[in-house]
Symmetry: D2
Subunit: 339 residues, 4 copies
């Protein structure tokens, strides 16, 4: 068994992660940290984990983590990961970071979108973007994996084959994305107060959501051999439900394509990706909720390519892919603990 720590135990991604790790055949969850002074037990933070995780949280201490764990999953708010990652890496702990801190390769872009300087450019340079379906080869040797954002994974997995084959106009892409409320985190605020968002559907962050540069970056990298950079129009919405993201994606093809061609392309592209399910019918978020699957379907409508894609924002969009990365980093089958 490989000893692992979860740094930042109080949020939803941490809860899901600890649940998966508790059942994982090779991981042993040996430590959970929390900033709270009272050292809460994990099951007081997350009653659903009673009898599943029997740990008391401790304050974060890099030495203590390094003494007991070989891997640290960081489930911290953005910017907070920057404070702990260098110390952990110096001590030889391999890090899987669920925050956004190591996702954007260009520190200037990071500073622009997250409104503070990136304090660990060395870490940033070495970090591997942890989306196995795109960067499967790089992850096994990574010592720092930047777990992708939930909207980002949905968008990239939907579009990567089209970009790789240079089939679409790169400035025509519209990503109309809808997320359950758990994506907004666990801190109460008015917009996520039940009587405000229940029976309500709304757009937010129009034109300025932080997953935009992340999508642009990875898709531009996927298409780096051909054509211009990708610049998507990304609009997130809040759906009155707990979990799940659905993206409806529109793009103009560069040449005429049939649905048959597209399906063949995607089947081939994802033939080694056990968590990608190409669907004939239109997937709903409920089909992939509580799983690590990514579901999608392709259509051609009035000459445009239309993709409908779903995943569970807390699993394939956060904690599930984190464990998928962990599996690759320990040289095992990426599905362990996840099916």
């Amino acid at each position: 068994m490989i000893p692992v720590a979860v740094v930042g135990a109080s949020g939803y991604a941490a809860r899901e992660l600890m649940g998966i790790l508790a059942r994982h055949p090779y991981a042993e969850l040996v430590m959970a940290t929390s900033r709270a002074d009272e050292s809460p037990t994990v099951d007081s933070l997350h009653p659903s984990l009673r009898r599943i995780v029997d740990l008391t949280c401790v304050p974060f201490d890099a030495d203590r983590v390094a003494e007991t764990a070989r891997f640290a999953f960081l489930a911290l708010p953005h910017a907070a990961s920057l404070d702990v990652t260098p110390a952990l890496r110096e001590r030889g702990v391999r890090v899987i970071d669920l925050s956004a801190d190591y996702r954007l390769k260009d520190p200037v872009v990071y500073a622009d979108w997250y409104s503070h300087e990136h304090s660990d450019p060395g870490g940033l340079a070495e970090a591997v973007y942890g989306l196995p379906e795109i960067y499967r080869d790089r992850i096994p040797n990574a010592n720092l994996t930047a777990n992708p954002g939930c909207y980002t994974s949905t968008s990239i997995l939907s579009l990567a084959p089209l970009i790789a084959e240079d089939l679409i106009e790169r400035k025509s892409i519209i990503i109309d994305a809808k997320s359950g409320v758990s994506g907004a985190g666990r801190s109460p605020k008015l917009t996520t107060h039940y009587p405000e968002c229940n029976e309500n559907f709304s757009a937010y962050g129009v034109g300025r959501h932080r997953h935009t540069p992340e999508i642009d970056q990875v898709l531009s990298d996927v298409g780096r051999l051909t054509g211009e950079p990708v610049e998507v129009l990304f609009t997130p919405h809040l759906v009155p439900m707990d979990r799940g993201i659905l993206a409806t994606i529109y793009a103009e093809p560069k040449r005429e394509v049939s649905e048959r061609d597209l399906k063949d392309l995607y089947s081939e592209f994802y033939k080694d990706s056990p968590f990608v399910r190409l669907c004939e019918g239109l997937p709903g978020t409920k089909d992939s909720a509580y799983t690590n699957f990514f579901d999608m379907t392709l259509r051609v409508v009035r000459g445009r390519i239309l993709i409908v894609a779903c995943l569970d924002n807390l699993l394939k969009g956060a904690s599930g892919v984190a464990v998928q990365n962990f599996n690759l980093m320990i040289g095992q089958d990426e599905t362990l603990g996840l099916v």
Copy 2:
């Protein structure tokens, strides 16, 4: 038109109240107050009221209220009503208080359950409990009306005829009540954070909810001519929905009764109450949501009396009954603006 003010404009009850008043044939909403420093417009607080209420909030000032309004509806948190009511009454403004501050006749009981002293015993002595179906005769002349709690109204209207007729054991009453989340107010907290209470059903405040002494007090008063005081066992629950309360109430009859007898009793008791709907079938909260009606049905099961009753916690349970009281206080039909 009678000029009225709403003191405390930011919550849900205030929103509903201002919407009703905007359509009322005799009331004119001339002022809304808010503690916020920025003097927000009403429609910035409540976008649904755009083009319906065109007011900018002002800070509370008793003189200013008295200059412009003859009635003040207080939609303030508990304790805050105590701070403004005496000043308003001194200035001749008639007050309809939606908080709990003037509901409990005994200041000692108030202090026990609300954890602070009652600073206006004179007001308390004069306040009329604003449940028209029970105290219809006292309300027209009241200068201070204490609007009942939402659970309280549901419970009292369900049980009053049985108590008045001394048909049930007064310590056998169990009120198992369920409320939508708007009942918890508009301040965000973890228990009302969407991903916590959505898809969740839970009990809270078991044995110590503040509506308990209010139910006991009014039902004991209804039954003061016969028998002992009422002492209910009241259990509130939170339902993942916006609005509505349903109470399932159990009581042991003192003598055998038929459903027919009970229906006759209730029809007679409520024959002048336009908002009480006695139902043959089992009512659901959705039937009375967005209305000022109170729906209920009666059953006898295995020798026990069982009542299922519903109302909209924000209307019949708060702002609707406030306007019903207002109508009576201005000598008009109690249904004005409410159907």
Copy 3:
């Protein structure tokens, strides 16, 4: 008072309609029809209407309607309106049809999308499309008004000023629309079974929803003086909530425009439309739910025009606009009974 009948009383639009009519200052609801053999009371079909509508449904009979009512609101399924409209019009009853039967001006297009021949081409030729914000002048004299679809109204009101001014590429329009479940009607089916659509978000009818030709037709008509026909890409989705539609709409401008320009254009275009609310912030469906308002906001993002628009599908999208049409048809203010 003007006597009116509701033909087809069992669905959600009929329920809302009867509720509005019961409060309307000039309409008197004198008849409700239902295909059910048992002649149900309206309040057995819709318990929320107890004490509001006191009618027993009768089977449809054109003579009987003509004897008692001057207006008939048809809340029937598609195709069923065709069976009753000619008989009503022959008898001098003015008809407001909530179905799709008289919306598409070209019977061939109707036959294509609704899979049966149009049996009343005469009626079709005379029918006025009942969207007051676009065809306000034609409605007062109409004897047959075709009430628009809910998605359609949302889409047309969002785009009409842009088309009228020829500001956008007419084949670039993407309408990504999301609707609450009441839009699917009241007949139970698996897709609207609670445990299927709750906590689920899904697309449906991709590329083949019947509101597509309706949107194309009206927008093409709005832009008939300039440029080519409109051909939208319309994608509907199902949101786990009762009511409300939100559309996120994308279009390529023909020339550079600022948000300021767009707001001025819309303010002018809708200056006489009391139910259009142009918003600074992003509207959510809850702001306009239970009202007859249409809320929208405009943005320019990465060179593209982006519109977010909402309405209540049962009110502004169905029964509210029907009463708005009725008001115009009786020569009154269009807001009567609706605010």
Copy 4:
């Protein structure tokens, strides 16, 4: 691996069951049957099971089941289990029946509550009631296990220790139970149509729900050594959520008891029951949703005992306990595949 069949694959309990069995270390799901003529694949019935269960349903045939499987899980409607169980048992297949057909020991009571004769009294006599926490010793050797109802398990597990110790008045018990909508099955009907039950809370089946005699029977059996039979007052309610049952239970103690005494009693009673979690705080349904745990807490309020208890109606209330029974029947740890 032990080959097992699921008879009746289309419902929610079957879906959950097949998901658990797919991950079970000793079970191999070799057959799924369906009455549908078209032989659907399991994943066309349940898209969430794509890549998890790769089977095509076959029509039920007892010989075919017996040839390939040693166990059959019956996820059939009531009465349908009676049609297949004798044939399976004759052929040596061990049966775990999720329907109500073998739960009530007295065929007269069964006929009364289910409105048809019991055609297999022999099977009924041999059937073991499959609630491991109560009948753990009898299950290993059973060849026919009658899986308990979801409300029933919740109620029995809450009350068994009190009855066993003869601590409460047996006719004072009130069970006010609330269930998510998946408990109503997968067949669409008006009461479970989304716009009807969403934002609605309602009671149903007051005084005549079929789980009543089942609760009476088992609790009377638990208390058979002391005192009179149990006769509960059971009221079910429908909660607008997918899954989970919460029961609030009231009982009069025969003698004064403290919360401390009660907790000690329950800790001892359930010390060998890994799925019973006694909670300090009040449990919500969400804590046990998607798990096989039963959560409960005890209170004494105004002299009465009050219990709040929760479980997931599809898991601990149906498919989870079915696998728990299976584990015991194959002589293994009852938690296999369930944590």
